[in-house]
Each structure stands twice: as structure tokens, then as C-alpha cells.
Symmetry: C2
Subunit: 434 residues, 2 copies
């Protein structure tokens, strides 16, 4: 794709750059301070869940069935919360644990357990690494993807291998080719619905191929972080196939470990976290986790299930969230289309849910765009973070997190982003002429 | 020490045993079902903290200073809670993290980090273990001690070495001798105040010797679980020396990692957990933990600090707990003194705080006593659990957890325990005559 700047002669380009620089100077003078760095709901959006804080009071019954939520015990989570967890994850309640406020921490712990102890009788991943000096343990990372996922495997010393995202999810031809012959590839990170940051939902074919593909490693694990399973922007949400059902049918159910939480449903960082897996994998994880945990915060579990007792109640609640998020996503779409649609400088995704839009500018532009936005007072997610080790090889990708600012602030921030992309694209074109 | 049964001739002994067996049969017929297995507060005791559930409501200000507790961020814990954590642990607030509801899980995670990554530049403990096939990594475990501590190191494959408790804390002569020459001994588990289960508080001399002793392992760590730091039964509580001050003076502050939580202050399993360490150790732990945690549940932190804003408020609250616990501990003391005081069959501790009484019967008696109590409907902590691997070499120790039953139930349970100890002691004496 040629940008409009690449079609200009050097004089026209110089004039355009000068004019864009004037606009940048004017933007700097406005002294903006806007944050589009992380996928945080805005304070007013969070306020939707404030009624939950009234649910438990001094006189409340603190029992869930026969479980006293105000005392020790019930390691696996309270029955009502496990029921909800099963509905979130698409597996039987008995195959879930409801734990503390962070599903990321559960992911961290379970991958750490595979590393230290192995899974389903295979040697620990750390032992595999020690025995194969020239063949480190590897993980597949769909890119652009979620930096904190990549950080968990990186911290363990697992080598993160990027795999391209397509419109249907990660590139399955490439994945099937890789895992078929290399037993050092032990897993893949997935955000299967409204992926972070592309917003893409894996197609049924992708889900099926992931669940049924032939893996050289018998202990290959799909880390299925269904973080946005109910986070639709529109009444008609994307449909995600149930990977547990497909895996169960194919006899590969030990392969799937699924996660979700209420962090972006009730209070970010103060929700309840869910994990679901096959009976065997759940039992081995519970065995090790029990060494350090008597029980998670069951009062918060009780508060949640009384506020949101069923998946239908959750869906109703999510509609209120969508009212905040929809205008923000639509603002992103509109501003980018208006500002860059005819420039040939950029492509971006059009999510129908989740928290992010993935944006790609010309090769070699993203870091410069990020720096220029910062100079103009707009903070983006660290550019490159959507790739393992922060290394986007073509330096094109930017994650847009539109949820936190007001629509007015977001609009101003996108003006800045559009301007930065234009100037950097023009400068790149000029540099290519030199 | 001779028991009264050892002083009897065989005829007298046979008669005594027959009479005790009649009493056991009568007790069985009563069909008791009492639980003294774990250190759980009773439901009425937990109710003391119910007003905390009214603290946060839909209209509350959810900020702690500038921190929005209802959104992501503030990994290290909210400022007010860190201040309280510093007061609990005896170190500056900046040297603390306030995390989720379980301090045990923090202990699990930090020992896991030392195992996988090492500490302060030393090789990972797992690497040490791999490099010294004949010299496994070891941990010192004061006995009788806390089974869940031993379980954490056992789960990692660390070898637990028992060290005797004295009236002043663990046997420091033995500990100094062991750690001076053996660099495979990487740490010690301590419950320094009202130890689980002896109720002993470490003397100032013990604290000083632990903090200043010469360790062959440069990465020796004291896991200082100050679980009962404010859990006094009487106005005049035991005094525990501040190990951070002593270590700081001695230049050994990297050696100390301290823990506490509000689990037995507010709601068991739904409190907030604290960790304190030197700046270097805290930073390295935070670095790895951050790979899996954005932030802990700050709403629960806020709820806690608004309910218990200062250490003085905590102490006032603890007086209410003491009103429940004191009569239970006094019941244990009275029943044991009345029932066994003149028999020579048993010794036990006389704690002024905490949750447990440690009881020792004749050699070879404890497992049989535990089984006999179970037959009579009284469940004790699994006998042997106070020793690493559940192996009490002399089979004498029983942990008494008097907090959960009512005083009446407890009284009945202790009658059963006394009866069981008498019968087993008499049978042991008879078996020795054979």
C-alpha cells in the first residue's frame, strides 16, 4: 500500500511536513495530558457496579448453601460462584476453581506449576529445558497480543514465539506446522473472544483446529484467557465455539486451561477469578496451590454471586458497560476513518467487543508515533508491547485503549494520534527520497 | 517421668484399664461430634467483625488518598494499608506490600521465587539442588510447628529438618551449629509470637541470635510469620523484639522476610495479607510477582483500613476476640490440670495468646489417643502434623485448637481427650509389663 505522502514529490512533501509540524506545535501548546495506555474502564463506568457494595452488610446471611463464607474452608470456591464460573468458561462447575481477584495471577501460578512440576505425568517444563540445552521451552504468542501474557512466560525463561493473527484468530497453518514436529513448544496464549488488542474472535474452525491438532508435545497446553467472554458492544455479539466440548469429543481435554474474571464486569482488580480445566489438570493444580492456600476470599465471591446470580444477570449488567464503551469505540472508528481513511497510512481493527483497537501504521512508524504523541501529551500503551519482548519487527503496531478517557478527551487524543501518524508517515516518505 | 499407671502392679492396672474402657464405652454412646482440628474462630467470634461489612457502600468515596481503589493500579497496596502493614511487621511502610487475603499464599509465592530465581544475586535454590545431588536444599522447622509451613517447603522438594522448640523459641545452640557450616540450609520457618502450636514467644535473645548468627548460606532466609502479633489473651501480652531493627543494625536485613494478615482479626480467609522485607528482597519479589499481578483487591484493603485505621484500633478490636478465646484457653488449662495434672501422663503449654495449646503425652501415645478421640466423636488435628512429613518421632504431640467449639463443647471434648490419654497411658504401661 502506498501512502499519499509517498505519491508526493519532494517539494510538496516538504511543504506538507512543514504544515503538519505547525499543527504539532499547536497541539503541544494545548498542554494535553491524556492516557490511553491501559484497558481500564472509566470511573463513571466502574460506578455501574457500586450497588454491589451494598450487597453484604453487618446483618447479612454469610452462607452460600452450607458454606460459611466468613470463615476458613472451601478451597475450591463457593458453590454458586463455581456454577457461574462453569457458565463463563463453558465447562462443568466441578471442573472450575474460583479464586482471588486476579485471573492473571491464576495464569501465572498454573504456568509456574507446569514449569516446576510438569502436567499429566510429563516431566516438568524446567526439566525439559535443563535436558535440552539447545532447545529451550517455547510458547506460541499470537501477535499483536497481550503483553502481560507474554511477560508470564518470559519471566519463567520460556521463549516466546510470535504467530500472526488473522481475521479468524491465530494463523492455524503456521501453528499446526510448528507444533506437529517440535516437542519443545509447550503451549499457546489465547484471548479467544475480542482478542487483546485486535478485538478478533476466533472462528469455530480455529477453535476446532487448536483443540484437535496433532502436537509433538504430549503436555501442550492452550491457555484460553476468555477475559472478554461477555464483553459485547452490541446486542448481537461475536459467537465463540465451546473449546471444552470440542476437546472433550477429541479426547484432548487435558490440553485446555481456561480463565475468566469479573474484573471488567464489577471492579477492576477487585473481582473474582475463575479457572477451568479437565479433572486431571484441575486436580494437579489444586494439589500444588493448596500447599499455599487455605481458601480464597469467599465474602467477595458471595458479594458477586448475590449481585450477579446468573449469566443472564451478567449479560444485563454488561449492557450498561456497553453504553459507556460503544461511543468510545465508535469515536475511534470515526476519527481514524476521517483522519486517515484516505491516506493509505494505516489500517485498524473494528471490534464488536473487548477493550482495544489494534492499529498499524507504515513500517518503521510506530515508535516515532508513540514518542510524538507523548510530546503532545497523549500516553499510548508502550509501543511494541503487543509483541514478545516488546519487539515489533516491522514497528507498525499501536494498541489503542479507548475506555478510560471521556469521549471528548478520547476525541482530542485521536486527533493527536492522527496528526502524529500523518507527520511520521510524511517524514518516512521524505527520508525514503533522500 | 513415671506415669501413675507405670507405678501400678499388673492386677491394679488391669482393673484400671477395665474401668477406663467402661468410661470410653459410655462416651461413645453419647455420640459426640466435636471438631478441634483447625485454628478457626467460632462463628460468634467472627461476628465481631460484621460491622466492617457496612463500611463500604454504593455511595462511599473509594479513594485512599489519590488512589482509586475501585480500578486497576497500585500494585504495592494502598498507602493506608501499607502504613498499617509497617506497624504490624515493625518495618517502614515502604518496605511492605499489601496483597490478597492469604499471607500463606504470599509465603508460598516468595519461597517459590527463591527456589526458581534465587535471592540477592545467589543462584536459585533449585540450581543449588541440581548442582549438589547429595546435598538437597534444607529448611529448619521448629517442632512442634505449623503443618502448612512445612507443606510449602515440602511441595518444593526442600528437605525439612526438625529443630526442637524450647521455652524461649527454637533451640538456638542447635540452629547456630547447623547453619554455620552447611550452606544447603537456606532458611527457617518461624511463628515468633504465640507460636503455632506451642504458644511460645521467642525471647529477645532468640530473636537477636537468629538475626545475627553466622550462616554458611549467604542466601539464608528467616520466614517470620507474625500471624499472632496482636493476638493477646490478656491485657499484658508477650513482647516480641523487633527483628528488623536488630537485623538492620547487624547488616543482615536481607535475611528477614516477615508476614502477617488480618485473617484472625476480621474474617478468616477474607482479610488482607502483608509482607515486609529489605528494600532489595522486596524489589526482587515484586519484580516477579508483577509478572502475574496488576494489583490486589484494594477495595478490601480500603474496607479494612477504614474499619481498623490504626494499630490502636486493632488492639481494641482484639480485646473483643480475647473475650471469646480466654475462657476457651482457661477451660483447656483447667480440664487438663484437673484430669491429668497428677497422673504424670502429660505436659502441655500455657499460652497467653495465639490459637493453640501444644500437648505431649507418653511416648508412643499420640496416634492412639487421636484415634480413640475420633472413636468418641472428637476430631483433633491429624496427629503428627506438627512435625515435618507428619512424622513425630516419639509420637507424643497433639495440637489442641480450642477456638471453634463453644466452651461447653470444648469442655466435653477435653473430657474425651483426658479419658483417651488415661486409657492409652494405662495400656502402654500394661504392654510394657508383658
Amino acid at each position: 500500500m502506498q501512502t499519499i505522502y509517498q505519491q508526493m514529490d519532494s517539494g510538496e512533501l516538504a511543504q506538507t511536513i512543514a504544515s503538519l509540524k505547525d499543527e504539532v506545535a499547536a497541539a503541544k501548546a494545548r498542554g494535553l495530558a491524556l492516557d490511553m495506555a491501559r484497558g481500564k474502564p472509566s470511573p463513571s463506568q466502574v460506578d455501574i457496579s457500586r450497588p454491589m457494595l451494598d450487597i453484604l452488610g453487618a446483618d447479612s446471611d454469610l452462607h452460600d448453601g452450607s458454606v460459611d463464607c466468613g470463615n476458613y474452608g472451601c478451597f475450591e470456591g463457593i458453590p454458586s460462584a463455581r456454577k457461574l464460573a462453569g457458565e463463563f468458561l463453558g465447562c462443568p462447575a466441578e471442573q472450575t476453581l474460583v479464586l482471588g481477584s486476579s485471573s492473571l495471577l491464576i495464569e501465572h501460578d498454573i504456568v509456574g506449576t507446569f514449569w516446576r512440576c510438569g502436567t499429566c505425568g510429563s516431566e516438568p517444563w524446567s526439566a525439559y529445558a535443563a535436558a535440552h540445552e539447545d532447545k529451550p521451552v517455547k510458547f506460541l504468542c499470537p501477535v499483536p497480543g497481550y503483553d502481560r501474557h507474554f511477560g508470564i512466560t518470559e519471566d519463567l525463561g520460556i521463549v516466546n514465539i510470535p504467530v500472526a493473527m488473522t481475521e479468524d484468530g491465530p494463523d492455524m497453518d503456521e501453528i499446526e506446522r510448528l507444533v506437529a514436529s517440535d516437542d519443545s513448544i509447550k503451549g499457546i496464549w489465547c484471548v479467544p473472544k475480542y482478542s487483546n488488542p485486535t478485538g478478533i474472535t476466533f472462528s469455530e474452525d480455529t477453535v476446532r483446529r487448536l483443540a484437535t491438532m496433532t502436537c509433538a508435545a504430549p503436555d501442550f497446553r492452550i491457555l484460553w484467557d476468555n477475559a472478554y467472554c461477555v464483553h459485547d458492544l452490541y446486542d448481537e455479539g461475536d459467537e465463540l465455539a465451546n473449546i471444552f466440548d470440542i476437546a472433550h469429543e477429541a479426547g484432548t481435554e487435558d490440553r485446555v486451561v481456561a480463565f475468566a474474571s469479573t474484573s471488567k464486569i464489577t471492579f477492576p482488580g477487585a473481582g473474582i477469578g475463575f479457572v477451568g480445566a479437565s479433572p486431571a489438570v484441575l486436580a494437579e493444580f489444586a494439589h500444588h496451590l493448596k500447599a499455599g492456600l487455605i481458601s480464597a476470599d469467599k465474602l467477595n465471591q458471595l458479594r458477586h454471586v448475590r449481585f450477579l446470580p446468573t449469566l443472564d444477570a451478567v449479560r444485563e449488567h454488561m449492557k450498561k458497560h456497553a453504553e459507556f464503551l460503544r461511543p468510545r469505540f465508535e469515536c475511534v472508528e470515526q476519527k481514524l476513518a476521517e483522519g486517515l481513511g484516505s491516506t493509505g497510512c494505516a489500517t485498524w481493527t473494528h471490534p464488536r467487543g473487548g477493550y482495544f483497537v489494534s492499529f498499524d501504521g507504515p513500517e518503521g512508524s510506530a515508535k516515532r508515533v508513540g514518542a510524538l504523541c507523548a510530546e503532545m501529551g497523549v500516553r499510548l500503551t508502550t509501543v511494541g508491547a503487543t509483541w514478545p519482548y516488546g519487539e515489533d519487527p516491522h514497528d507498525t503496531n499501536i494498541r489503542i485503549a479507548p475506555s478510560y478517557p471521556t469521549v471528548e478527551e478520547l476525541s482530542a487524543a485521536l486527533d493527536v494520534l492522527v496528526l502524529a501518524v500523518k507527520l511520521v508517515s510524511a517524514e518516512l516518505a521524505a527520508e525514503a527520497l533522500e
